[in-house]
Point group: C2
Chain length 195, copies 2
């Protein structure tokens, strides 16, 4: 599916998954990673936190040089929540082990926020999607094998649902692509709206 | 994630999606498409039908030349069910339009069966996964655009959840990869069991 958007699209994220998802919509875009310091935000409510993080990334990129009124900035953020604990990216392999053992055979929530900032009129649309993810019961050795692939290290909650993590996930209730990094369906709708 | 299986794996399916899903498990395999005539099966119950179709594909391939006791045959089948109607692959573009208009803004079920046939001891394991899929409400023009991409034509229910169809799907309840063609999680478990 190709969406025609009369703007120069900027993806404010270095995530290769998000890049892949934008490509699903046949979009041409430039990647400008946000330098926003996520640790500067202290919000306990997951929905508010993830929305704020996505917005802050878009805003930070909007202040960069070379950004013009022609640009449409798309940013996103994903957090994993298990029993009120927000799981970010693991600090090291042991931390990944801790997280994956927490999630093993349990249900957790993934919150994904997307922000679409239109520099033409500074209209900003932020939305949050929540998805339940149920992990299968797997052996510690399977978790360790997975950590050894290196995949968990740059991912919230220490897993990527689309690659190796696919063996850990039993079922989801919600939007798969949001768990992967960005709701393709929501983005499609937002882009259709832009004049 | 890499699974070591002490067998020569045959994928009894020509689907590029299933090929991609097997590659997620780091498997090496050969594709031998089944020539089984699906129209020869008349079963009304979706779960029984899809299981029978997957098993029949594996069995048909097991009778081919060059299959040895070294082989492990993996087959799968996916059907889409909307209000008791089983939707197969669309006959033509108009049929795809009919199906996608049926599914628009509604919930339907996807049944995916997988059969793993071990030629060493003729053990056969068949399992069926059911996933609810909720379509977003989209305009006819979006459906027509999607049909024009050609993607719906070789897919049950006239959509592929992983590519262009991602803009049509609002949420799922179940296993994303099963909807795509095969449960990666279930296959991982089956392969771990094989000695």
């Amino acid at each position: 599916m190709k969406v025609d958007v009369n703007r120069k699209i900027i993806l404010a994220s270095g995530s290769p998954r998000r890049k892949e998802l934008l490509e699903k919509l046949g979009l041409e875009f430039e990647v400008i990673k946000s330098d926003f310091d996520e640790s500067s935000i202290e919000i306990k409510n997951p929905k508010k936190l993830v929305a704020k993080l996505a917005e802050s990334k878009a805003e930070e990129v909007s202040n960069k040089e070379n950004i013009t009124s022609d640009n449409l900035i798309i940013s996103a953020d994903t957090i994993v929540v298990f029993k009120n604990e927000i799981l970010g990216k693991p600090k090291d392999e042991l931390d990944a082990m801790r997280m994956l053992k927490l999630l093993n055979a349990q249900k957790h929530q993934v919150y994904t926020a997307m922000c679409v900032l239109d520099m033409k009129n500074m209209s900003k649309r932020t939305s949050v999607v929540k998805t339940d993810v149920v992990f299968d019961k797997v052996k510690d050795e399977t978790i360790m094998e997975y950590i050894k692939t290196g995949e968990p290290m740059d991912k919230a909650g220490a897993y990527g649902i689309q690659d190796g993590g696919s063996v850990l996930v039993k079922k989801i209730n919600g939007d798969f692509f949001a768990v992967m990094g960005l709701s393709v369906n929501k983005l499609f709708q937002e882009l259709k709206r832009i004049k």
